[in-house]
């Protein structure tokens, strides 16, 4: 039994948990921005995938720091498509997000062939990572780990202590009332979606540059969708999603370390997805999403 205990809570699991936590938490923070502004972003997963590709490409060409920046910008660029489609043209937000995810299945393949050569459609060459920070007890960690924590604190501060945060939340709760008080709902929603893209892109960049050191097709493994579940479990608050991401990151870490005779490996591999399903089943009705999330808003419309 002590062996199992080590596999569940050991230091190796903890280190692995942190590595899994970073991209998930970043993506979930992004999701917090778009959903609190009133826009659903199913395309987070696709934006992360773009981030993984552009991160690897950027690191290859201009070094890891620039790579992370390029990954972030690529997320913003893809998010801009989603913002134009959903905020300006008011098309169904889920449809637009799904379209972005489908684009993310094809575009990186195309780009890989163009950038890395024929036969390289599914992966990039190895790319350089940022120099690691040595932390006593935990070993070497990526500088993106502390950056993530800083960004998390910053997000909490923006949402709860700034005018921008208040306006952003009002756009997602009651856009009409917000507009009548002078909040530019359209701008707030654009901001929410673009910030979301930045976080998702950075999360993708962390995956390819820092965690793996290479882009490979499918490396994101649906983290963007798990982020959406983390949002629900965290009840759309920064502190809430920090804890829910810890839970999901832990299940992901377990897929690496948990090896038990009487549990099938296929089951362990699908643990993050099964836990997500269970979380959805238990919490979907107990939480309170932003009131106006998913509803298109037309500025100045009478209804």
């Amino acid at each position: 039994m002590p062996e199992i205990f080590g596999q569940l809570f050991g230091i190796a699991v903890f280190a692995s948990l942190i590595r899994a936590f970073v991209p998930l938490f970043l993506a979930t923070l992004g999701g917090l921005f778009n959903e609190r502004s009133g826009i659903v972003n199913i395309g987070i997963d696709g934006m992360m995938i773009f981030g993984t590709w552009f991160g690897a490409w950027g690191s290859l060409r201009y070094g890891p720091a620039a790579g992370l920046l390029i990954a972030t910008l690529s997320g913003v660029l893809v998010a801009a498509i989603h913002a134009v489609a959903t905020v300006t043209f008011r098309v169904d937000q889920i449809v637009s997000g799904v379209a972005i995810n489908i684009l993310a299945l094809g575009v990186p393949r195309f780009l890989s062939i163009v950038a890395f050569g024929e036969g390289q459609e599914a992966q990039s060459p190895a790319v350089r990572s940022l120099p690691k920070i040595d932390l006593p007890g935990l070993g070497e960690i990526s500088p993106v780990v502390p950056l993530t924590i800083v960004l998390g604190v910053a997000a909490w501060w923006v949402f709860n202590r700034t005018v921008l945060g208040l306006r952003l939340r009002s756009a997602g709760e009651n856009p009409r009332a917000a507009e009548s008080l002078g909040v530019r709902v359209i701008n707030m929603r654009y901001a929410g979606v673009l910030i979301s893209g930045a976080f998702a892109g950075l999360a993708g960049g962390y995956l390819s540059i820092e965690l793996v050191g290479q882009y490979t097709e499918g490396m994101n493994q649906g983290r963007g969708f798990i982020a959406l579940a983390a949002l629900i479990l965290g009840n759309w608050s920064v502190i809430g999603v920090a804890f829910s991401c810890l839970l999901f990151a832990w299940t992901e870490a377990l897929t690496v370390y948990l090896r038990v005779d009487w549990i099938n490996n296929a089951f362990i591999a699908s643990l993050p997805y099964i836990v997500t399903l269970v979380v959805l089943a238990v919490f979907s009705r107990r939480v309170r999403p932003p009131k106006a999330v998913g509803h298109a808003y037309e500025a100045g419309s009478p209804v």
Partner: protein
């Protein structure tokens, strides 16, 4: 007399019945509006595709090359039609599966996993059962549908009883499906006569009594000249019949009506006597069952086994096709043919040009985004026209 006096006065309960000719003109214009959006987005996608090639390759010659290759492989080649029809078969079924859920206002993003499980269950029944064709083949097809249905059951239950959004849950089911598939094909269901690496993992072959034939012979007897090996099978007939049944069900039956009410105005559904939860269940399960048919052409006709590297992506293409075809039976068939044509011409681009054939995947992605935007713009245009006309009448 009375009615004539009442009608011109302010808001009439029913619009004045237009003359028949006017009705025709309106219908024609409606049709124009309906075709405007797909046409505009097709042109837009083609322009984006051309621009991408221009940016990447830097010469207009490449654009011409790609167009030429698409023409010669997609249209000119004598086997093209067979390839396109064969490819359209699973695409039609995937589009229908997605559309059934769409009609009820549900997003079944899980067609991808549902058809994988359907292939597996069909392969098991097809290879393990001993029975004459009349029993074996229908049972095998039903097994495929049951597999897809089973995989849609969990998201359906979670949605109805636990309020879990089906987009996330169906995606999660996709990932669980691939893990289970890998496990079963590498272990319990592995064909022990096969040796080799992971890519070779497969079930035992489906028996002859559960196989479905190719269709080249039939077409050739009609005067076509297809190679006998073209991947065109009798599943095409199944897909077309499914499209017709779908269209009739949506338009002519009570179930179809309730589905439409639920999809267009969920709040009005319950007060008008529609049991929404039961309808959600039925729509999702039916969607899953049809999804279970998507991969059967490969298992029962083309390959005769379920392989770990089966053709993926039909589920996601199905979403695009349902959107493009506006969830109508005819529209889905047309959109599936378009996607099949694009897939076929990708082969031409691969073989004939310097441009990566993945440009076609980008084209398909752009098409989805531009089609939803185009439909929205056309809807606004039509609404504005209607408003104008109402003003003029008043």
């Amino acid at each position: 007399m009375k009615t004539e006096e009442r009608l011109p006065a302010a808001p009439p309960p029913e619009p004045e019945r237009p003359a028949r000719r006017q009705l025709w003109a309106e219908q024609l214009r409606d049709l124009g509006y309906r075709l405007l959006a797909p046409a505009a987005s097709l042109i837009f996608a083609a322009v984006v595709g051309a621009l991408i090639i221009l940016v990447v390759q830097g010469s207009t010659e490449d654009v011409a090359d790609v167009a030429g290759a698409m023409w010669s492989y997609g249209v000119e080649n004598k086997d093209s039609l067979a390839f396109i029809l064969g490819r359209a078969t699973p695409l039609i079924l995937a589009g229908l599966a997605t559309a059934i859920a769409f009609k009820a206002g549900l997003f079944n993003i899980g067609v991808e996993g549902q058809y994988a499980i359907g292939m597996l269950t069909a392969a098991v029944v097809g290879s393990q059962l001993q029975a004459p064709t009349v029993i074996h083949l229908p049972l095998t097809v039903l097994a495929g549908m049951a597999g897809g249905l089973l995989w849609a059951l969990i998201p359906a239950l979670l949605r109805v009883y636990r309020g879990a959004h089906e987009v996330i849950s169906t995606i999660m089911m996709n990932y669980v499906a691939s893990a289970i598939l890998l496990y079963l094909l590498a272990g319990p269901l592995k064909d022990l006569n096969q040796a080799g690496d992971v890519a070779q993992l497969r079930t035992e072959p489906v028996q002859d009594t559960a196989r479905v034939g190719r269709m080249a012979g039939f077409f050739n007897s009609l005067g076509f000249d297809f190679r006998p090996s073209v991947p065109l099978t009798w599943f095409l007939v199944l897909a077309l019949v499914a499209a017709v049944v779908y269209a009739l069900t949506i338009r002519r039956t009570r179930f179809g009506y309730e589905l439409r009410v639920l999809g267009t105005n969920p709040r009005a559904a319950e007060p008008s006597g529609i049991r929404t939860n039961a309808m959600f269940m039925k729509a999702m399960l039916l969607s899953g069952a049809v999804a279970g048919l998507v991969g059967l052409q490969e298992v029962l006709a083309l390959e005769g086994v379920m392989k770990i590297d089966y053709v993926r992506g039909f589920g996601f293409a199905g979403i695009a096709i349902a959107l493009l075809g506006r969830n109508s039976g005819l529209g889905i068939v047309a959109a599936a043919l378009l996607f099949a044509f694009l897939d076929r011409s990708a082969t031409g681009i691969e073989l004939r040009t310097e441009v990566p054939s993945e440009v076609i995947i980008i084209l398909q992605g752009v098409l989805i985004l531009s089609i939803v935007v185009a439909f929205e713009l056309v809807r606004r245009l039509a609404a504005r026209r209607r408003l104008q006309e109402t003003h003029e009448r008043a």
